[in-house]
């Protein structure tokens, strides 16, 4: 593999890991809200979360560009207030991946929270646990397999994200050129076929490893429960 290809693989892993870990707390919070609380605007929130799943990725990327870009309202504010810049940076790629993977993350976690018996939660309440501790000691451990499944889905989606990323942060080698972007570039130049094939194999290997890893993790949680 060429240094350019290695850079793209490393960048993709960084972007996907950042996107997954950064969106996980928000994903769990929103999944819990949707699963356990009734509030005004709930279906609106639900729709908003799922929007990236049904919108063309280019549209999502363009929306990110006009809101989080340097001159976009949110982007300009974040730049001035905190010095955080998304446009044409790898962090922007991570943001695009997080937004695209978010519906998958929330969906998996929400379903597993809904599967947790609320009667166990009320039992924990009668034992003195406040709502936060009920969540931390009963709900979260019991829905952990769903959280892991959601995180893996989000990670896999991030590894393959192309449309929103390239629209939002372009295709800059070493900064925003992720694995799919480089495969696309290689298919556009003469003699790039061999590189595209190598990266395709790497991509398949990473996806399978992620799946295997989640499987092992889920099994370890099951075993842990046996002795805990």
């Amino acid at each position: 593999m060429t240094p350019e290809e290695w850079t793209a693989v490393r960048l993709s892993l960084l972007v996907a890991t950042t996107a997954t870990l950064a969106s996980l707390p928000f994903g769990i919070a929103i999944a819990w809200l949707l699963a356990r609380r009734q509030f005004w605007g709930k279906s609106l929130l639900d729709t908003l979360v799922h929007l990236p799943l049904i919108l063309p990725p280019v549209v999502t990327g363009y929306l990110l560009l006009i809101s989080f870009g340097k001159r976009g309202p949110i982007g300009a504010f974040l730049d001035q207030a905190f010095g955080i810049v998304f446009s044409f940076r790898w962090t922007g790629a991570a943001l695009a991946c997080a937004v695209m993977g978010f519906p998958l993350l929330v969906r998996a976690i929400r379903l597993s929270i809904e599967a947790v018996d609320v009667r166990l939660e009320s039992a924990a309440g009668t034992l003195g646990a406040n709502p936060f501790w009920v969540f931390a000691t009963v709900t979260l451990p019991l829905c952990l397999p769903g959280v892991i499944a959601g995180a893996i889905l989000c990670f896999a989606k991030s590894m393959g994200e192309f449309g929103a990323t390239i629209t939002f942060v372009s295709n800059i080698p070493g900064e925003t050129q992720t694995l799919p972007s480089l495969i696309y570039t290689l298919t556009q130049v003469p003699g790039g076929d061999a590189g595209a094939m190598r990266l395709t194999l790497v991509s398949i290997a990473i996806s399978m490893l992620a799946l295997l890893g989640s499987e092992l993790l889920a099994r370890r949680i099951g075993a842990h429960r046996l002795v805990a």
């Binding site: 018996d117 009667r119 166990l120 009320s122 039992a123 924990a124 309440g125 009668t126 034992l127 003195g128 646990a129 406040n130 709502p131 501790w133 009920v134 000691t137 009963v138 451990p141 019991l142 429960r225 046996l226 002795v227 805990a228």
Partner: protein, 354 residues
Amino acid sequence: MSLDVNIDHLRGSFRIAARFSAAPGLTALFGRSGSGKTTLVDIVGGLVRPDRGRVAVDGQVLLDTECGVFVPSHRRRIGYVFQDSRLFPHLSVRRNLLYGRWFNRETGETTADLASVVDLLGIGHLLERRPDSLSGGEKQRVAIGRALLAHPQLLLMDEPLAALDEARRAEILPYIERLRDETGVPILYVSHSVAEVARLATTVVILTDGQVTAVGPVADILPLADSGDGGSVLDATVARHDEAFQLSVLTSAAGELQVPRLRAPVGAPVRAYIRARDVMLSLRPPEEISALNVLAGRIAAIEPGAGGAQAEVRLDCNGAALTARLTAKSVQRLALAPGKPVYAVIKSVSFERS
């Protein structure tokens, strides 16, 4: 400790309007299925918020809709043993037991520690197991222990034996008796079983279609329960065992009773529950009769039953209340009337061990 409940709650078209106070010991909420018992304890435990009402434990107001007071369940310090034990499947028995203790450290009160609760409930051999591998009876004992270790000021038990078979029930009943007598934690116990209430209760609250219809000591109230079978409760002690015939002799205020051999040791307090239909009356002391128990008494009242074919004859046997269910024909034939001395005859085989 005292528990004062006065609530008015509409659930669909079913209205619960209940008012009662519970004394120390075990207070049984007794009534048919669907009479609102579980909703009532859910309100006391803070799991259901009633439309209107007030709940106070020892004068500490937990709920008062008029003043807008609602203490959430996790700050009530009210233990709850559910019908389905609700043990945490991801934690071992030990960690289930210690779950509540962690949140109630600050209270500083130690009504129970792990060793004594484990000993009280006989669950020492289960500590490292996970809930899935326990039998129904073991699960309920662990659930009781878990509630106790959260240092509750009041313990709610919602039909804790309903999901268990006869043998498991017999296994747990002695533990609940010890709980009532040894821990000093007052208990509000929901049941629709006359046998359970007769054996365990200090006070009985009868709930009929969401209304409290009677409150009082178990011996006074249970015979009035229309959902029961009009039986009476006699407090007694084991005087001796008759090993040759596999009988136990009990002494009570009403006199001696011979019942099938009990496992309880001599001197142990027991309760005899005598169904009204198992009691026969005689005007003279019966002779050459197979029944072993003859109690002398006086008729206190005669209440005709619905339809007029039967009557409940309430007796005063040396201060203890006993009820006999007779046909109207027998009442007339013997010319029974209040004040008349009679002899109550009860076959020993009509007693069952619970």
